[in-house]
Amino acid sequence: MKAPVIEAKDLNLTFETNDGPVHALKDVNLTIDRGEFVSFIGPSGCGKTTFLRCIAALEQPTSGVLTVNSMTPENARQERSYGYVFQAAGLYPWRTIAGNVKLPLEIMGYAKAEQDERVRKVLSLVDLEGFGKKFPWQLSGGMQQRASIARALAFDADILLMDEPFGALDEIVRDKLNEELLKLWARTEKTIGFVTHSIPEAVYLSTKIVVMSPRPGRITDVIDSTLPRERPLEIRDSPEFLAIAHRVREGLRAGHAYEE
């Protein structure tokens, strides 16, 4: 049995605010294996983004154990174990698309020729061949987000963390990008952590769905998807898909009932 890629044991994170402590994460236990596609779903304040940020060492847990590739998140960050995609594409307006994708490679000190080679490769991976010389403002929102995914893939980390990457895009573009993301995942065999608000998106993409609820932020259900790895968009009308979506919805509702 291989070691899990991400493992959280009794993870707690409490923010001290002026209104008293806020339990962003409470007793979170989760194991993510290599090659899984894990979605985190829940209402605002349920800690899904916070958990992703803990994995990326952008937040420090208050207690508990969290390992990434069997290292502390901080060491994993130094080892450049993951690419992170934020909700906003956040491309530098003064760099071309190719220049933006090159940014992590420059920082990590790749040789010039390899930089160009990798940029070419990941741009084709996200279907942006021929757009390398364009500036971000010349691209649509969906294309910008694809470029930001290419940027996260450029240095070939085996984990991809995505924080509502398609949240700001319209439904049609989102469908298309979801489909492409699945293909990309199949081709690159990365482990993906994906935060979303959308039940269909979570069910369509994931091998494992983590349902979370707020105050305190905690996991209420972990659903292992029974859907096949090969997923055409039509699968969303299948009874199996709807059954999983139903269970996610139940989980979300249970989390809310707790509050009242």
Partner: protein, 287 residues
């Protein structure tokens, strides 16, 4: 072309007002002269004579234009009476001070953004420095440096720098802090060093702020250079022209020097604007 008509209208209105003010302000002297001589003056006489006085209270626009033209082209540009000569003296001090001030402003802003101690200690002094009237500082700088044997361009440049570093400092602190949380988080996921963060993110982000500050800074540097020429008893530079003009009541000379300074300031700001446009265009930041 549409904007030409309004611009000309405003210009014409200014000229008309100026002529009116010249007649009003200069007529007193003519009435006084007439009263002293015991003669009467007609309105037409008053009108024509207010236009041609040697030392009018307010020179008429055509007198200033004449003085300006005479000053710019009436003699070799190396002559002590040439406005080109004096303009160049002031311009060279302005540019030297501007470069000095810009470098100081940028260096201080980099320090302030990266060191909390500097943020707490430098900023209050920088702000305090600008509340002291430059007229009070300038003579002291000139005197102290002269006693050390430093004369000529450098003291003037230092005073110009004293005025121009501040807008650059404030603008660059704002600009270097412009990147928001997500952009800094992104670099953090790359485990980027502070140096990489500075060169790849902070500095490029600050460019629009830098140029806005440079425009204020270069105009301030010119003011500093002119003020620096006043207390030194300097014999050259636009400030010296202003001073000697006011000693001898040469109002036309004062106005000619003033207009030269204004034109110089406008051109300098325009040049910075052109560099800004070219730079931002190259960076892909101009739409």
């Amino acid at each position: 072309m549409k904007s030409v008509a309004p611009i000309l209208t405003v210009l014409a209105a200014i000229v008309v007002l100026w002529y009116g003010a010249a007649v009003w302000l200069n007529s007193q002297w003519i009435y006084d002269q007439a009263a002293r001589a015991g003669t009467e003056v007609t309105a037409t006489q008053v009108l024509t004579e207010t236009m041609v006085q040697d030392r009018p209270v307010l020179p008429a626009p055509h007198q200033v234009a004449q003085g300006l033209w005479q000053g710019l082209t009436g003699q070799a540009i190396t002559s002590k009476r040439s406005l080109v000569y004096h303009g160049w003296i002031t311009l060279s001090a302005t540019l030297a001070g501007f470069v000095l001030g810009t470098v100081a402003g940028i260096l201080l802003s980099v320090g302030i953004v990266h060191s909390r101690a500097m943020d707490m200690s430098v900023m209050p002094w920088a702000i305090a420095s600008q509340t002291i009237p430059i007229q009070a500082i300038a003579p002291m700088v000139i005197v102290v440096l002269a006693s050390l044997g430093i004369k000529g361009l450098l003291p003037k440049a230092i005073i110009a720098a004293y005025l121009s570093f501040f807008p650059v400092l404030v603008g660059m602190v704002k600009g270097l802090r412009a990147p928001e949380g997500q952009q800094l988080d992104l670099l953090s996921t790359y485990n980027a060093s502070r140096a990489a963060t500075f060169w790849k993110l902070r500095l490029p982000s600050s460019m629009p702020y830098l140029f806005a500050s440079l425009k204020v800074g270069i105009a301030a540097a010119l003011v500093g250079a002119i003020v620096a020429e006043l207390p030194a008893g300097a014999s050259s530079g636009l400030g010296a022209r202003l001073l000697s003009g006011s000693y001898y009541g040469q109002t036309i000379q004062i106005w000619s020097a003033l207009l030269t300074a204004a034109a110089l300031a406008a051109s300098l700001v325009m040049v910075v604007g052109l560099i800004e446009r070219a730079t931002l265009k190259r960076m892909g930041m101009a739409r």
